[in-house]
Amino acid sequence: MRSVKHFIEQSWLLIAAAFCFGLLLAMTNAALKDKIEQNQIDALNNMMRGLMSEATNFEKVIDQAEIAGYKTDIYKASDNGGQIIGFAFVGTGAGFADKIKLIIAVDGTCDKFLGFDVLSSNETPLFGDRIKEDWFRAQFVGAPAGALELIKSGDTKKIDNKIVAITGATVSSQATVKIFNDHIEELKSILKEKGLID
């Protein structure tokens, strides 16, 4: 009995503070949660809109699909007439410094990539983070939705399955191509399984 009294005497402030701070955090979280979720949805939608400019509606068609060991939602993009423009998902993989997360878009039949945008990356500024540059990203727009190959030099304007690496950022270039290669076949089989593509 004495030990319980001693314990309470010693720790009542800590217990009370933990309760008050927990309550404060719960209230703050409740107040800001919707806005934070909306910001994340807006960021995702803006990127998807950038990749599929003809699309007006973005609908989540598959919740938390597991592709290449990472869970991602898959979105269907369609125009005002209901025609499917493409699908988008978050592709994740190891980069040079940390995980790279890309928004990748494919066309409605999964024949071509429509491009990608970088959702998050901690690649080295001015080197690895050049995967965000337009000329590098443009190489993926219209590329066949299959295995891509990274090459050291070549014509960056030629659209095929060959992607020219960024000088000084080979690891980040490889990581980007690997994310595409790791995800595309699994994506196709998931979309086929759900009857979203033939």
């Binding site: 010693q10 720790s11 402030l13 800590l14 503070a17 933990a18 701070f21 404060l24 955090l25 703050t28 979280n29 800001l32 806005k35 934070i36 910001n39 994340q40 807006d42 960021a43 998050s120 901690n122 080295t124 500024p125 001015l126």
Partner: protein, 203 residues
């Protein structure tokens, strides 16, 4: 580190700006100083978060200073600081999502910023509320000034901009290294050298 005198709030406030500037004189909080000063906007966001956390934690610690058990005080400081850092992190995510992405893990890392726990231990746990608030404002303003000076130099030399506004002539060749960690170390070293030279001359 001198303890703030309750009778001299002005001195307490000014100490954080120069004599006990947390970055330039005490060399505390080096992690954000080096990591987020690539540009002025993230540096300013970090400074505002530190100001919020430091002020709130100093208020709470000062209010409960007479109830603190010596062996539990560090635990109480950490609990208090972690709470306000989480609130700051949620607020930045809600109201400045792009800045939250830019700053990445560095806002949650304010929890281990030794300026905050240092002021809780050296000032707030021994002084009244007004002195603790004054100390927090002085220290965090000193931190803000230091980060903004560092970030201005680095952004100017790395991109030719300040607050993303181009200020350098077209012929200016950006020094890419200044936006990288090496730029942070060099700039901080040069500024510290300059400050040491000034203070030696005065002495």
């Amino acid at each position: 580190m001198a303890e703030p005198n309750q009778g001299n709030l002005g001195n307490t406030f000014i100490a954080g700006l120069w004599r006990e500037n947390p970055v330039f004189r005490l060399l505390l909080g080096m992690c954000p100083t080096l990591a987020v000063t690539g540009a002025v906007k993230p540096a300013l966001t970090m400074s505002i978060c530190v100001m919020f956390v430091l002020t709130c934690s100093n208020i709470v610690v000062s209010l409960m200073r007479n109830l603190l058990k010596p062996h539990l005080r560090i635990l109480m400081f950490t609990l208090t600081i972690a709470t306000f850092v989480t609130i700051a992190d949620l607020a930045v995510k809600a109201f400045a999502p792009e800045m939250s992405t830019t700053l990445g893990p560095y806002i949650p890392l304010i929890i281990v910023n030794c300026i905050i726990i240092g002021r809780a231990e050296a000032c707030a746990s021994k002084n009244n509320l007004i002195t603790s608030i004054t100390d927090a404002l002085g220290m965090s303003l000193g931190f803000t000034i230091a980060l903004c000076i560092l970030a201005s130099v680095r952004e100017l030399l790395a991109a030719g901009t300040i607050f993303d506004i181009a200020v350098m002539p077209d012929k200016f060749v950006p020094l890419a290294a200044m936006s990288m960690p090496v730029g942070a170390f060099i700039t901080l070293g040069l500024i510290l050298g300059l400050i040491n030279a000034i203070t030696k001359k005065r002495a």
